[in-house]
Symmetry: C2
Subunit: 454 residues, 2 copies
């Protein structure tokens, strides 16, 4: 994808996903089979994913056509609006132009349906009747419950018990879309029963929930697993965000100097930035900044090496920045950003020096979120507020340096399901913490020993 | 507004609001001063509303230009999408074409900002520094908190204590936008103190909260009051919904045979239907159906007569369908539809036989809401699900009668703040009730005695 290509249909919705792999100066490291440490082949993934998605995962085609059935459902909320944050610019008294791409208009209120719809579609094509997944905060569970229902696919969500009790709204939303939500650890799987045998009151964890979902998917013929982040095909589906934003900005005569997105597993960041990085890789000057929580500083404090994508041993070994697959961040509010690793493609770009990363503290994040809500009217998801924090910092730097820059960021979701976190902030009950060095080292020291070398 | 007029700007956002009054075959009855029973004059309203809104309230101009500052903020979510519910049509196996106008993409998730923005704007123009309002479920409070903040106006919300405790998400959203939310009854006003003196544990009521807001607004020079429903100018602001829908349908070569919306205070129904009724008043055949809860059956079981618009004696006497201003519906989930009366303009049209009304039971409403979520992907607000119930019923009639009709309805908001109500439905804890006849009669018997006659 370059400045010259227009990948949109006449309805303003992309006709193609953009795959950055063939444009990279150096290919990213292959993912490895966790037992053999040999590059993963399609057969290794077939018990979890449909062939079409496996093909996309390893594709070297630059553009992959979006089937019409998917584009039709995208049309429920795409193209998403691109707005200029003029009142925020004024409040900051900055010469910067600040634009944001708003993904919160989707049925589940975040960018996640951009990949949930194609994943449901390709599973349906492959004859799959049910998808089993885990869910932490519930964004991915909501998106997939919504998307799968439209294709008549059942969804079983293993939801970490603590989350499903503390923030029940997303659980209820999944059930409204017809998903079966099971509190994890559960009696339904051997993995769950083993945990309960040791501790009947276990609050569960994402790792346990993943194990339950994977066991369920592996043991049932017409059931697959689905991941809402990290993997290449997931990032690629999210490039609809950047492809649209590029054309929308072009129509306004703008081109961003800085592109900013929050970064948990990396697909929101990749989805916005990759279509712009396509031009950077061809020589155009611009910066892309991935923003992560100070308490889960994968790019900024992690190590670039092979690690498991989960802590259940379900995914291949991925070459990525990681805090160690056992890393458990101290309780933070942006539930979608508690992941120990980050997309291998985003990691590769960071390692090559093509993108930047920054970590921010929670109180500064919510301060930015509230400022944005009061200036621009939309209450951001806590995840998105990470991006806003950095946007504000960059805009203030423009003011200081008296330079006019165009900043684009992804407002990846609304905060309507996250009001308790705002309540904590507004009532002074949200406190910043430092990440203990020993916690970081302990998790990193448990990284798997990987022999494979390129 | 007729078939021939295009009232949209090149950005797809209306340039005018449509005022149905001059198109009516018979003028609606004037509102009366509650003490003198003489038609209300502008001076009577000045202690509560800015002059520009008072002028709109009594205007006989067909089209009122929307100021550019308002259109700019409308641009945050307008034009809203119009979708065809093809998967719902298929599930119902109906020959009907079903279209919906989706207002849930606004920053507060409902249609209410369509009037909150102009109300904040005109109050700002009039030098008002603060708005004091009451809030039940919180839709109006959210919309005004959002809109007023963008114009730098403070908002004080007297929120019924029971609501603010039971469903805290909207309270927190209002506070995120910077509003001061006071649990009502409060110690801040004489009205609140009087209630608390009698019962320190009072859970409050909408009537008490209204009294507190009105007292606050009346006692402070630069503070006004604002109403999110019922009044003529509020309905008129909502006509942006119908004006857009008409052009969007026209572009698809469609014209609706039936227009359906839920009806609480009536502005969502009026906002969608009035631009279409403009054509009906000129002879075009079409039906408009207002849908209300069986437990608050204002149009279907109320009386058409003068009544107070609130139960605090704050508004003028309005000629409208009413259940009596003391009517308290048994607890129902669609918080936005617990109102005892309905817009005088909607009432007038109903009394003239120009529109229809229907009441529906809660369980049938949630059944429709869940069906819509699972077919079309968007979880509707419980209020909007009332409209969907009737849409499904009409579509099934089309199937029975083998007639193809085009049905348009307003999906006035998303249900992301209302998940506990869906939980009650999905877990079998939502039960239908009959409205006791004696409750209806008791409330109607308390209607004020009004001398004025046309």
């Amino acid at each position: 994808m370059t400045d010259q290509e227009n990948l949109l249909g006449s309805d303003g919705i992309p006709r193609f996903w953009y795959n950055i792999v063939p444009d990279l100066p150096k290919p990213p490291a292959a993912s490895l089979h966790p037992a053999t440490h040999k590059p993963v082949v399609a057969d290794d993934l077939k018990r979890l994913f449909p062939e079409a998605l496996i093909a996309q995962e390893t594709s070297t085609e630059r553009l992959i056509e979006i089937p019409e059935e998917i584009r039709e459902i995208y049309g429920l909320w795409r193209p998403t609006p691109l707005h200029r944050a003029k009142r925020l610019e004024k409040a900051l008294d900055t010469p910067a132009h600040i634009y944001y791409k708003y993904e919160g208009v989707s049925p589940s209120g975040s960018h996640k349906p951009n990949t949930a719809v194609p994943q449901a579609y390709y599973n349906k094509q492959a004859g799959i009747k049910r998808l089993a997944i885990e869910s932490g905060a519930g964004q991915w569970g909501c998106a997939l419950a919504f998307a799968a229902r439209l294709f008549g696919i059942d969804v079983t969500v293993y939801m970490v018990k603590g989350n499903s009790q503390h923030k029940p709204y997303r659980r209820i939303a999944m059930e409204t879309w017809g998903a079966k939500v099971i509190s994890s650890p559960s009696e339904e799987t051997a993995a769950g029963r083993a945990v309960l045998a040791l501790d009947p009151e276990s609050p569960g964890s994402l790792g346990i929930a993943m194990s339950e979902a994977a066991e369920d998917a592996s043991n049932t013929a017409d059931t697959n697993y689905a991941l809402g982040s990290v993997l290449n095909h997931v990032v690629m589906h999210q490039t609809v965000i950047g492809i649209e934003a590029k054309e929308q900005l072009k129509a306004l005569g703008e081109s961003p100097n800085i592109v900013i997105a929050c970064c948990g597993g990396g697909t929101n960041f990749g989805g916005l930035s990759f279509p712009f990085l396509a031009d950077k890789l061809k020589g155009k000057e611009m910066r892309a900044i991935a923003v992560e929580p100070e308490l889960c500083p994968t790019l900024t404090k992690g190590e670039f090496r092979y690690d498991l994508g989960d802590n259940a041993g379900l995914t291949p070994l991925l070459m990525m920045y990681t805090l160690g697959h056992d890393f458990m961040p101290p309780g933070i509010h942006a539930g979608g950003m508690r992941y120990h690793g980050v997309s291998p493609l985003v990691s590769h770009l960071f390692n090559e020096g093509l993108i930047e990363a920054r970590s921010v503290q929670q109180s500064a994040v919510f301060e930015a979120g509230v400022m944005f809500a009061r200036c621009e009217g939309i209450i951001p998801a806590p995840e998105s507020a990470h991006a806003i924090r950095t946007v504000i910092d960059e805009a203030l730097r423009c003011k200081e340096q008296k330079t006019q820059k165009t900043i684009l960021f992804c407002l990846s979701g609304h905060g309507h399901f996250d009001m308790p976190s705002y309540d904590d902030y507004l009532t002074g009950n949200l406190h910043d913490h430092e990440l203990p060095e020993e916690q970081l080292h302990a998790a990193l020291s448990k990284l798997p020993h990987v022999e494979f070398r390129w």
